[in-house]
Amino acid sequence: MTSMILPPKQPAARRFVFVAMVLACVVLSPLAVLSGYGLDVITEIMIFAIVAVSLNLILGYGGMVSFGHAAFFGLGAYATVLISTRYDVSPWLGLAGGVGTATAAAIVIGAFCVRLGGVGFFMMSLAFAQLLNSGAIKWRPLTGGSDGVGGLLRPELFGFDLSDAGPMYLFTAAGLVGVLLFMRMVIASPFGHAMVGTRESSLRMDAIGYQTRRIRLAAFAVSGAIAGLGGALYAFYNGFVSPDALSFGMSGMILLMVILGGKGSLLGPVLGAGLFLSVKNIVSTHTSHWLLIVGCIFVACVMVCPDGILGFGKRLFRSGERR
């Protein structure tokens, strides 16, 4: 192959070792420094990072603005709790069921949503999330209504009890790393490129022979599955789920995390989730004007750095270099 056209590949092996070591340090260091509550906070951040990453797949790469992503997060969580508690089976089956339910729902809901573009997509995704939210509130015998449903006990994994903060943290970290590696692969795959192409110009994609609806649907399903995994982990984390997990506000929060960190980049949503939840945890204790601060973050983000903190940082870095 001519290297003139192809972007150069980095030397793989050494880089991999380096990344793996940094990753291991990043993952393991909180275990040494933090105790129970601190680890819990980071665990929650990582769970929402997974959900934000999943939204970023369709939003950042696929160009689909969903205001109903809480649907898959919430379904994953609900299914995990309900399967584990109502049928008295292993929570691991619950987790699998949670991911499965979210994926199935994403395929069905996606089939409706991907027919529409732009605002239509936005409205349709919102309608389905609201529908599920109403269902969770109304179907009291199954879901416990607006009071939610709980009682899930975290299982064991390789002899470690996940109900301790440490193992749960590591388990979630493994999940996040796995999701990120998967995302990295998808983005670089022929499918990932087809998705970006669909975002950039679906007319052109049609004309050169891609069935764009099908590509969008596949992306939607993958995204729903990952969000379902996030929901299932959240069910493990909390042992409890309520209709809030399916709400308008939850969808908005996930969206904010992606935008805040930077859409269309691998690590942006992770950064966004971390920043948002950290600020929330710190600020909400000290002031009742929490909403004001969230609002200002939103506005500042849109006005000053529409490509997120990651994009903002990159721009700063580049302009620094130029000088």
């Binding site: 192959m1 670089a188 022929p190 990932g192 052109r204 050169i208």
Partner: protein
């Protein structure tokens, strides 16, 4: 290769295609000309599948494709360019072209492999880029290209899908004389395995490429044949040059 039978299309009371019938034979360089509003682009859109005709039939390699969606037509070997820029702005020239090649040859639903591993697609893309002499700008994002380069990328993306029939919607419009000359060279160099149906305004381009000309006037075919015959047709002269001299 490509055959249109009595294609008609109207937007409300405005008839844009009136029982158009035309044939593109294998290896032909077929050009559609006609004044503004003759319904040329609408016709291309109907062939490409972006619009569907009200009545009539379209055949590709003898198979009827009238009801086929645009992507399926593309896979059957029909490629087209657009007049307005619908390229993937955020991607590089190479990636644009590579997406064209992937559509025809690649495993689009493969999530678990890098795009680099699909060497067949890469080779196809590189070939299209070389055909259009785009090597020098292959790594640049399309959003930053000049207009002339964009027209060439248009053709390269279409070529990358390895078409048997190529539809070109005014490939030289807006180009400078030197760019136009370049485009003519490139198009003339294309192998005869590819049949071309082209809309063009510039008569110099038409006469240096076309071996068959169809004249469209208000949605209707008023003449069709070899360039010399068409040029001598009194109706064509009337339409094009106003009153006969």
């Amino acid at each position: 290769m490509l055959r249109l039978e009595n294609i008609s299309k109207a937007f409300g009371s405005l008839v844009v295609s009136n029982s158009v019938t035309l044939d593109v034979t294998a290896g032909q360089r077929h050009t559609i000309i006609g004044p503004n509003g003759a319904g040329k682009t609408t016709l291309i859109n109907q062939i490409g599948g972006q619009l569907s005709p009200d009545s009539g039939k379209i055949f590709l390699h003898g198979q009827e494709i009238t009801r086929l969606s645009a992507p399926l037509r593309a896979r059957a070997g029909l490629a087209r360019t657009f007049q307005k820029n619908t390229l993937f702005q955020a991607l590089s020239v190479f990636e644009n072209v590579r997406l064209g090649a992937q559509a025809a040859h690649g495993r689009t639903y493969d999530l678990f492999r890098s795009w680099r591993s699909d060497t067949g697609v890469l080779a196809q893309a590189e070939q299209a880029i070389e055909q259009m002499n785009l090597g020098r700008i292959a790594a640049q994002p399309v959003g930053k290209l000049s207009y002339g380069d964009l027209r060439q990328v248009e053709v390269a993306v279409a070529l990358a899908t390895s078409p048997t029939v190529l539809l070109l919607d005014e490939p030289t419009s807006g180009l400078s004389p030197s760019e136009t000359a370049q485009m003519i060279d490139v198009l003339r160099a294309l192998p005869r395995e590819i049949s071309i149906l082209m809309i063009e305004h510039d008569m110099e381009v038409v006469f240096s490429i076309a071996d068959h000309i169809t004249v469209l006037y208000y949605g209707e075919v008023i003449a069709s044949g070899a360039p010399r015959n068409v040029a001598d047709d009194p109706r064509v002269q009337e339409v094009y040059l106003g009153a006969p001299q």
